[in-house]
């Protein structure tokens, strides 16, 4: 089962945000059962034993849920498969002799910190602008006091599955964050608990997104294809709707909001 494969990795190396990066080639012998990140582990072990600096890359859960891993393999965010994060990608998806170019997520809003590590804090700032239901601890009504139709709960869950990895931005030719923002808007907008702040949330999150320097959505739909959780681009249409409704019915007191 596990005969060894020979592959060449062309890995992006970049000292820090200021310096230019470049690709560096490494020949590796790997087992088909290895995950892609394990290939980087083994390579790093080798680099360290040679006294060289290891390749920096982000990872934590290694089971596709934390959203840390963030690699572009041969131009595809999270590699060739559908609904799969880099950490869940195994080498049996490649052939012996393959060349794999490994790059960081590229977007002006995600500056490279080092090698393959980028700064995605822009997502947090968008979230902080309105991606929540304002409910203080202790003030919640009884859980079953508000009924939620099962279909709505399921659709909300579909959108809520977003792991915030940023592959949508990485894959979008415009580096747009619309899929990410729309997933949160849809998740909360589909539930009764999210209704009171629905308009305010759409306005605030969209202007926060604009401030971060993401691109605009051109509806290429590459984001949906790259999303490891299969989040649908229909959420983007929903965001567009919610936002227009909010702009047109916006009241004066909102001056402090958004821009």
């Amino acid at each position: 089962m596990s005969e060894s494969m020979h592959i060449t990795l062309n890995v992006w190396r970049q000292k820090n945000a200021q310096e230019e990066g470049r690709l560096e080639a490494h020949a590796c012998d790997v087992s088909p059962d290895m995950s892609f990140l394990e290939v980087l582990d083994v390579l790093n072990d080798k680099l360290v034993s040679e006294g060289k600096e290891a390749i920096a890359f982000e990872h934590d859960c290694r089971e596709g849920i934390c959203g840390s891993c963030s690699l572009v393999l041969n131009g595809q965010a999270h590699g060739p498969h559908k609904n799969t994060t880099t950490c869940q990608l195994h080498m049996r998806s490649f052939k012996s002799g393959d060349n794999i170019t490994v790059e960081p997520f590229r977007a002006a809003a995600f500056p490279v910190l080092k090698d393959l590590v980028v700064d995605r804090s822009a997502f947090d700032r968008i979230q902080q602008s309105g991606g929540y239901v304002s409910v203080n601890t202790g003030s919640a009504p009884a859980a079953n006091a508000v009924l939620v139709p099962k279909d709505d709960a399921d659709s909300a869950m579909d959108a809520a599955q977003c792991i915030g990895c940023g592959a949508c931005v990485a894959a979008c030719p415009n580096a747009s964050a619309m899929l990410f923002v729309s997933a949160k808007i849809a998740h909360l907008g589909l539930l009764p608990q999210g209704q009171p702040e629905r308009k305010k949330r759409a306005l605030a999150m969209v202007s926060a997104m604009d401030r971060e320097g993401f691109g605009n959505c051109s509806n290429h739909f590459e984001c949906g294809a790259a999303c490891p959780k299969g989040i649908s681009v229909a959420n983007i249409a929903r965001l567009n709707r919610d936002w227009l409704g909010a702009v047109l019915t916006e009241r004066e007191e909102r001056k402090d909001q958004g821009d």
Partner: protein, 654 residues
């Protein structure tokens, strides 16, 4: 001890170590928490604004505590090791969260959840804490629903429940197979709201590397900015450590790669007692190791045991493919040994039984370190579609990792470390033996005794963060004027210097091995000797081997790069160094606990038919280890446990 008196609601027990006063309230069990909250002094809102709270870690416990305390008006600073709080390890929990709502009307109650948890913990947890946990469980669900957590629903729009981990009532709330994710995103959204409002100072990419104690009171931490390498000082009036468990001392575990013991271990070395480090939980259904490069193990939900049958070939070293092994040559060992619970025996028993089989040479797969979990009969009975509907995404995950089709060929599973019940000792207020240092979530030792029930860790993290600490923090802050301490205090400078020196020392060794390779080796020792079955001689050899490996580490590790930069090798080396110290204490704790209970199985202490044999006379206590300085043996102090409501009995699953 004057500092702790403010919150004492019972008189100190005479025969108990002065630092290990549990401060459990007295009176009827069901009224204790209410009474305690009443007895705690309130802090008026204007004063809250003056108190600086430092939270370390942003899992369920840390995020919930940060958000709630900020809502109440405290000045909160939160350190997050990741680029975003949403990535904390809690995100990975799958199965669900328990709560005594009794929505299915199947006889559940706060009392039953309390009872099950005390019993499940094999009578090594503090009753008062467990009862409080069960009480808070219902409020947690209310809170999460209000935040927009999309829990599973019935067609009528009500919340759905399932039974989990062998529980006889359906009290588990869930959001598909991503309950931890949804709960954490709920807490993260509450936290984000407070950050947006300017009430939380969120510091991402910060790793706590030491605790600063001034005049015996915790006053802040030293952290490293992981993006720039800068060593930073954070002063506060109270420190909450919510840094999770230490499962990665085994190297291979289901924990996220960044989980580590550094925060709790550093606090321990500054005076916080470490309780029951040997209480670790091994989960029976994980995807087995496939090779030496393996970096992480993946958990497969326990629910698989509802329909899958566990077996091994009756013959040793049988190399036939499973389909070729006839029924008569299969040993369904769980069904054979435990006719009434069968494949649904508790986690510790299922895990240990798998080890017995592989030890006996009956393991399967290329590594021989696995047993089969077979769905053939369930598929014949219910059809492949029914099985797909129940477990589709788990089967998919299995196929993705192993490249095998579990509908056609049985899954291979093996136990893996999953959770750590041990942690920093805390009293009923969640305050450690260092005044002003509170410990929440998996990082403390409090509620699960020697074994944790499925779906109860999420409950505990959120109970601690949303409901317990907001009340008990007053035990430290109310009615006292803490002397002003800022980052310029000499103690801060001294500790920061020590941290810097340690970093320089790691960078200066310039040996031959990566920290990771030493960590792997440590994991091997810990797994083999302090894993599912432990013996006195094995533990002794573990202590020797760990000490030798520590030596090897400090002489031969190589940490390339500099300290003034993003340097993951350096981060890792610091964590491995702490694991190397901590592992020895774990071995010692296991060695000294001459009984078997919950996840701690000493081969010398078993019943004639191979079950765990507790020793309630000698070991009905929590062992709280006290650090005595570099190179000196630690002192084993104890907090005796009393069981006023649930009477200790032998667990029996035959």
């Amino acid at each position: 001890m004057a500092t702790q008196e403010a919150a004492t609601t019972t008189s100190p027990a005479q025969n108990v170590h002065p630092k290990l006063q549990s401060k459990s309230p007295s009176g009827p069990m069901a009224e204790r928490w209410t009474k305690h909250k009443f007895d705690l002094k309130l802090i008026n809102p204007a004063n809250r604004r003056k108190f600086k709270v430092l939270v370390v870690g942003t899992g369920l416990a840390g995020s919930a505590a940060s958000a709630t305390l900020a809502e109440m008006g405290y000045k909160v600073t939160t350190l997050c090791i990741h680029d975003s709080p949403r990535r904390a390890h809690s995100i990975a929990a799958q199965g669900g969260i328990n709560a005594a709502k009794n929505y299915p009307n199947d006889g559940d109650s706060i009392f039953r959840l309390f009872y099950d948890t005390v019993k499940g913990g094999d009578f090594r947890a503090r009753e008062s804490n467990v009862h409080r946990l069960a009480e808070c469980s219902t409020q947690i669900i209310d809170q999460c629903v209000a935040q927009g957590v999309p829990f599973a629903r019935e067609y009528g729009g009500l919340l759905a429940n399932r039974s989990f981990g062998g529980a006889q009532v359906s009290r588990t709330f869930y959001a598909r197979g991503q309950t931890g994710q949804q709960l954490l995103l709920g807490a993260y959204s509450a936290l984000s709201r407070q950050v947006g409002l300017g009430r939380i100072n969120l510091r991402p990419r910060r790793e706590m590397l030491d605790l600063v104690v001034v005049d015996g009171v915790a006053r802040g931490v030293i952290a490293r900015n992981l993006a720039t390498g800068e060593i930073e000082k954070y002063a506060a009036d109270v420190v909450l450590m919510c840094t999770g468990g230490y499962g990665n001392v085994f190297y291979l575990s289901t924990n996220a790669k960044n989980c580590n013991v550094t925060a709790t271990w550093r606090a321990h070395k500054r005076g916080a007692y470490f309780a029951n480090p040997c209480f670790t939980q091994i989960h029976p259904t994980c995807i087995p190791v496939s090779g030496h490069y393996q970096s992480k193990l993946t958990l497969m939900s326990e629910s698989l045991r509802n329909d899958g049958r566990v077996w091994v070939p009756s013959k040793m070293s049988d190399t036939r493919s499973p389909e070729q092994i006839p029924e008569t040559e299969r040993d369904y060992y769980l069904e054979r040994k435990y006719p009434s619970f069968g494949n649904l025996v508790p986690r510790d028993i299922a895990s240990r039984s798998a080890k017995e089989q592989t030890d006996a040479g009956k393991g399967v797969g290329s590594t021989k370190m696995a047993v089969f979990l077979d769905f053939r009969d369930a598929i014949t009975r219910d059809g492949e579609d029914a099985i797909r509907a129940r477990y589709g995404n788990l089967f998919q995950m299995y196929a993705r990792i192993t490249g095998e089709n579990p509908y056609k060929t049985p899954m291979r599973i093996y136990p893996a470390v999953h959770y750590t019940m041990g942690g920093l000792w805390v009293d009923y207020n969640l305050e450690s033996t260092i005044p002003g240092l509170f410990v929440l979530g998996e990082a403390n030792f409090s509620d699960h005794g020697a074994n944790r029930l499925g779906a109860s860790a999420l409950m505990q993290g959120l109970a601690d963060g949303y409901f317990v600490i907001p009340a008990t923090i007053a035990a430290h802050l109310a009615g006292r004027a803490l002397p002003a301490v800022t980052e310029d205090h000499p103690e801060f400078r001294a500790v920061a210097q020590q941290v810097t020196d340690r970093t320089q020392r790691l960078l200066g060794i310039k040996g031959k091995r990566s920290a990771d390779s030493i960590h792997r080796q440590l994991g091997n020792i810990v797994w083999n000797q302090i894993g599912m079955a432990r013996t006195a001689s094995g533990l002794q050899s573990a202590m020797r081997d760990i000490a030798a490996l520590r030596e090897e580490f400090w002489n031969n590790v190589n940490v390339p790069g500099s300290g003034a930069d993003l340097n993951q090798q350096l981060e890792n080396a610091g964590r491995v160094a702490d694991f190397l110290e901590f592992a020895e204490l774990t071995a010692r704790d296991a060695y000294e606990r001459e009984e078997s209970c919950g996840g701690h199985f000493r081969e010398e202490h078993q019943t004639p038919d191979g079950e765990a044999q507790r020793d309630d006379v000698k070991f009905q206590h929590a062992a709280a280890w006290e650090y005595n300085g570099e190179g000196k043996p630690e002192t084993r102090n104890i907090e005796p446990l009393t069981f006023e409501v649930v009477k200790p009995a032998q667990r029996n699953y035959k």
